[in-house]
Each structure stands twice: as structure tokens, then as C-alpha cells.
Symmetry: C2
Subunit: 176 residues, 2 copies
């Protein structure tokens, strides 16, 4: 990504967090991470993150999705003898469509790019509105997408080890 | 506590969470826990809690302190071979005074009831304003108090096992 793309996205993420009523320190405003997962199509696929804490036991972060922006399908494998990452998503602002294994939801609200369709294999839809949350068991395949206004989502989880994440799309490499 | 005291406190907690911009489901509004730690002096000692998730690995909750209300000194011991609870407090609204082991802070902002002074033994002060946070290592003795307007604080931690908490004040029993 171009530096300008990252900076523009970072300012947008700050605006979303502000609308969600989430206060940051000045230092944190500089620590917002923008990732396009190496695909260079941030408007469609990618997200903004602010990691509050990530120790050897616990992780908490805010995730920001722009309207219809997708965090693509992946799962968190067992690492070093520990079960995979367990995570709870709690919608704080906007709306998020979360997809997990289970009966395919007819007429899902999520839309994925035509050229990437094959890399979205789970279509059981859970819609999270502000105040609603969902806990994923370790190793659950999942993907999610911001609604029409985008979304701010808190994630409470065990340790994040992003480089170990397994994405369905082989083109994805999780880079900072 | 009288049922009326609990209900009044619960409504106040809802008001604080609302001012902090935190959205709840209707179900969650009924799940807010008010504890006076068995001392029956809620205005001085106690807190409101909303547990979002508490699994065998991860816990997240919101804590609400009324003005000058104290969560009294305690620590989280190792339980069943696991290190004690590790917790991060993140102030979302208001101000919280947190006390941990370390050099005693001269002229601390916290005040404790005269008859309970001996049960507050750590006086190294950390003031958390909205957006500021602090991570406690397991088994760290600590207590905290709401500032002049009270506080809303997110807690991200390993599993909460409240019945195992060790309070300095022997009169305290952690009850629901």
C-alpha cells in the first residue's frame, strides 16, 4: 500500500472510533494499524486495528471495518501446544456481518468480490448490532464484513499470533 | 443489600454506561451485577459489573464505580496450577485512581474510610483518564477508586474466578 493510502485510512479509522465514543491516548492514535492483507484492495478487503494489549495470555483490540469492507475467511490454529485463539467479537458501533460454519443463510447480507468467491466457504450468517457479541471457539473458520455504515468491533481473545493465521485465500499474506 | 438498593444502583450503572457510549442488549441490562462485597456500605465500597464473556481462558467486563466508590485491596492467586489472573484496566469514562505496590505516592487522590485504613496497604498511585490503561501482573495487590465523577473501566483479563480472590480486609466476602 502507498503511504498516502495508509494515512488516509488511519484518519478514517480515528473518525470511526470517535463516532463509537472510544477514547484513545495521543500515542494510540499513532499506533493504529491498517492492513490490506497484502491484496492491495483495501476498500474491499482489509481492516483497521488498534491493539490495546497482547500478552502471552490475553489480547484485546478494536477492529474497524469501512462500509462493506471484508476481513477475509481464516482460522486460528493451535500454536505451540496451545489450542487456537478463542475470540469474542462485540459490535460497538454500526453493524457487522459475521460468517461461521453452519447451515448456509439464504440471501446473506454479505457480498464478496466475484474473483474471490471461492475463498469464502462458510455462509452461516450472524448479524451483530451495537451491544451484540459472538464468541468463536478455537479453530472456527470465519470471516466478517462491515455493514452499510461500517463497524467498530471490540475483540476479546487469547493471545493474537497473526502470522500463524490460516487464510482460505492462498494469495493472502498477513503483513503489518 | 436491600433489593431496592440494588435496583437503584443498577439504574445508576446503566446511566454511567450510557454516558460512556457503551451499548448493551436488553438482556444485558438485566445482568448488571452490583456488589458491596458483603460490607453493606455500597456508597463507599463496592462496584457495578457487566461480564461480557468469561471462559476458561479469557474474560472481559465493564466495571462502573460511582464517585469515590472503592474496589478494595485484593489480589488474584494462582488457581489449579494456573498463574493468577492477569488484568488490564482501561478507563473509558471519568477517572479512576489505581493503587499498586511501589513507592508511596505523596498526597494521593484516593481516600479510604477511617475504620478501614489498615486494609489499604499499597499506595503507589496510577491515575487513569479516558483512553488510558494499565496492565497488572498476576498476584499484584491492588485497589482502585472512582474519581469525582465516578468511572467506567473496561477490564480485559484471563479467567475471572472471583471466589478465589484474596482481600486484605478479612471482613470481605465476595458474594454475588
Amino acid at each position: 500500500m502507498k503511504q498516502e493510502t495508509i494515512e488516509t485510512a488511519r484518519l478514517k479509522v480515528l473518525h470511526y472510533l470517535d463516532r463509537a465514543g472510544i477514547k484513545l491516548t495521543p500515542q494510540e492514535t499513532t499506533e493504529i494499524e491498517i492492513t490490506d492483507l497484502g491484496l492491495n484492495r483495501l476498500d474491499e478487503i482489509g481492516l483497521g486495528l488498534l491493539v490495546y494489549v497482547n500478552t502471552s495470555r490475553v489480547c484485546a483490540k478494536e477492529l474497524v471495518l469501512f462500509p462493506h469492507q471484508i476481513c477475509p475467511e481464516h482460522k486460528h490454529p493451535a500454536v505451540e501446544g496451545e489450542p487456537g485463539k478463542e475470540e469474542t467479537f462485540r459490535c460497538r458501533w454500526g453493524q457487522v456481518y459475521l460468517y461461521v460454519p453452519g447451515p448456509t443463510t439464504p440471501h446473506p447480507k454479505g457480498r464478496v468480490p466475484d474473483d474471490k468467491k471461492e475463498y469464502f466457504t462458510v455462509w452461516h450468517q450472524i448479524i451483530l448490532n451495537p451491544g451484540e457479541q459472538y464468541t468463536l471457539a478455537p479453530q472456527t473458520l470465519h470471516w466478517f464484513q462491515g455493514g452499510a455504515e461500517g463497524a467498530v468491533v471490540s475483540e476479546f481473545s487469547t493471545t493474537s499470533r497473526d502470522p500463524f493465521d490460516i487464510f482460505t485465500d492462498p494469495e493472502i499474506r498477513r503483513v503489518g
